[in-house]
């Protein structure tokens, strides 16, 4: 039934080609921006998305930059509900050029791999990393970025930690390359905690934070409370939260990205609403006598309402689909270029669904007032307005 009206709708859009073009173009830009913003958000939050619900992070109550005593590890291990505990410290690594920053963390390999079973590593490489105190495990993105492979000797630099010989260079050997399920961040390097502790020039016996695996996700809040209670009123009180919350707090270091993107996108869509509504209102005003003719021919109030709404929807859907297709295309092209800084820079599926809802909502809201105006037009008055 709708299909037979399509030529009529298409003809209406052709009436003022330039105006239709500019309206659709502005909607294309709005949805392009929306799609790219969602791709960026997805990239920034990729770590948050893959964070395990049964993993906790215990850090200094003041900030994660404050260190905790290494002795806390064994005490946390003794808390009811805790399965495994691995220490981690921000290493502040870079390679070749200080701009080549790489997230790197010393940890206990065997415990770490027990806590993170989703890491995909060939068995031989896994054993090689665990066995070599100066060995490192690198993510696929790091390997691809620098062309490193198992066996390569790498002079890693640290902007924080000095070697006990006074140098800022840490000679390490690549022993394993890990992959992660889709959306996982593979820009990381993992070093041996023993080697790090033994070789660092200062802050002996201190570590950055602890990753804690709990028996079940349901127990996590209670376990977190028990850990923090253990160190209450000590010189280094702790704050234990879910890994997801910690990942989110990292993202929030650069501001509440989600809120900023939402604010921008909301402003853009509100402007689009006004632009589209204005286009539709003008279009209906110019066609008053034609709407009178349609009603004379037997088009009922509902049909006229539907035609104007359909026209508005057609504009927003054409613009929206083109905009989202453009965003998808750009994200595909940009992803390899941004892989080091924004891995997973892709338009997520949920953004496509949200965009579809926005297209429909925008079309309906923008077309509502003109459609009602057209519906209420009295035939005799409409025909009089030539």
């Amino acid at each position: 039934m709708i299909v037979q009206y399509l030529p009529l709708l298409a003809a209406s859009l052709r009436r003022k080609r330039l105006r239709t073009f500019f309206t659709i173009a502005s909607i294309v830009v709005a949805f392009l921006l929306f799609g790219l913003a969602q791709a960026m958000r997805s990239a920034l939050e990729s770590g948050v998305e893959v964070a395990g619900a049964d993993r906790l992070v215990t850090m200094h109550k003041v900030s994660f930059t404050q260190l905790l005593p290494a002795s806390y590890g064994s005490r946390i291990r003794g808390v009811d509900g805790v399965v495994a505990v691995a220490p981690q410290t921000w290493f502040g690594a870079w390679f070749s050029d200080p701009r080549n920053q790489i997230p790197a963390f010393p940890t206990e390999p065997e415990t770490f791999l027990k806590i993170y079973p989703e890491y995909v590593i060939p068995a031989a490489q896994r054993s090689a990393w665990v066995a070599d105190r100066t060995g490192i495990m690198i993510g696929r993105a790091v390997a691809d970025s620098f062309g490193w492979k198992p066996g390569d000797r790498v002079p890693l630099k640290s902007e924080i930690w000095r070697h006990k010989d006074g140098s800022d260079t840490w000679e390490v050997t690549v022993r394993a390359v890990f992959d992660l399920p889709a959306g996982g961040d593979t820009r990381n390097i993992l070093l041996h905690q023993d080697y790090f502790e033994e070789s660092k020039a200062f802050a002996k016996g201190l570590i950055g934070w602890y990753v804690v695996k709990v028996r079940s996700a349901e127990e996590a809040p209670a376990v977190a409370r028990r850990i923090d209670a253990l160190f209450a009123n000590s010189p280094a009180e702790t704050k234990t939260s879910s890994e997801r919350a910690m990942a989110q707090s990292f993202v929030n270091q650069i501001g509440n990205v989600g809120a900023i993107l939402n604010a921008i996108v909301s402003a853009v869509f509100f402007t689009m609403l006004l632009v589209t509504a204005n286009t539709m209102a003008q279009s209906v005003r110019e066609r008053t006598s034609e709407i009178g003719v349609l009603k004379t021919l037997g088009f009922g109030d509902g049909a006229v309402l539907g035609l104007v709404l359909a026209e508005s929807l057609l504009i927003t859907v054409i613009g929206g689909v083109l905009g989202m297709a453009g965003a998808w295309w750009m994200s595909v092209k940009l992803e390899p270029l941004l892989s080091q800084y924004l891995p997973g820079f892709r338009v997520p599926q949920v953004a496509v669904l949200t965009a579809t809802a926005f297209m429909l909502l925008l079309g309906l809201v923008a077309g509502a007032a003109p459609a009602l105006q057209a519906m209420r037009l009295k035939i005799v008055e409409a025909l009089r307005r030539e």
Partner: protein
């Protein structure tokens, strides 16, 4: 089935008031008329005499203030909005002075418009459109847009659009008012042919006595009342 010469339009004590600001203006003042099936009636009268108002009421474009209006046995004045729209689509063909074609559509698409409301396949619609355009002699102008046609041709497209649904009534509001004499005569001949050969009941508003001569019956209105009529 109604008798061939029975009244297809039966109007009784029809009143139409308009509001202009605080003032109430009477457009039709207790009019009673019968129009027979298959008749060709011209409505004449000075401006403001109520002839277009009467045409709009008969076509269900407007509602009377009081009185009754029956078309083919149905009280049109009692129909609700949606039912009235369906009734117009099924029973009335309108022909306007300014043709009122949609400029962005081809002649073919303009004629097809009323058929979009019918439960017809694309092929069925195309067949009916082709037949209507052939009847008005414009089968070779189907793909032309209104601006590519002469005034007379535009009015022929308007007539094709009016007859494509095979309506009960053809209502014409000054159909030759915007045409030169030659084109006007061609349009009037076409209307006469539709009345004579296809039995269409035609009610035509006109100022032009020459056009009114083509009708079987001329009704003169003045100040919303029947002044006189002639066969």
């Amino acid at each position: 089935m109604a008798e061939p010469d029975a009244a297809i339009v039966r109007i009784r004590d029809l009143v139409k008031d308009y509001r202009r600001g605080a003032e109430v203006v009477r457009g039709l003042d207790g009019l009673s008329i019968d129009i027979a099936r298959g008749d060709f009636v011209a409505l004449m009268g000075p401006s403001g005499s109520g002839k277009s108002t009467l045409l709009n009421l008969i076509g269900g474009l407007d509602r009377p203030t009081s009185g009754s209006l029956e078309v083919d046995g149905l009280r049109v004045d009692a129909l609700g909005g949606a039912a009235l729209a369906r009734w117009r689509a099924d029973h009335v063909g309108f022909i306007f002075q300014m043709y009122n074609l949609l400029p962005v559509l081809t002649a073919q698409a303009n004629v097809e418009l009323p058929l979009l409301l019918k439960d017809l396949s694309r092929e069925q619609r195309a067949q009916r459109v082709a037949a209507a355009l052939k009847l008005v002699g414009l089968e070779n102008r189907a793909k032309h847009r209104p601006r590519e046609l002469s005034g007379g041709q535009e009015q022929r497209v308007g007539i094709a659009r009016a007859i494509v649904t095979d309506p009960t009534l053809l209502l014409c509001d000054e159909p030759t008012g915007d045409l030169d004499r030659k084109s006007g005569d061609e349009i009037l001949e076409l209307l006469q042919a539709l009345n004579r050969e296809y039995g269409k009941t035609i009610i035509m508003v006109t100022h032009d006595p020459h056009a009114a001569e083509r009708a079987h019956r001329v009704i003169h209105l003045d100040k919303g009342m029947l002044r006189d009529e002639a066969a």
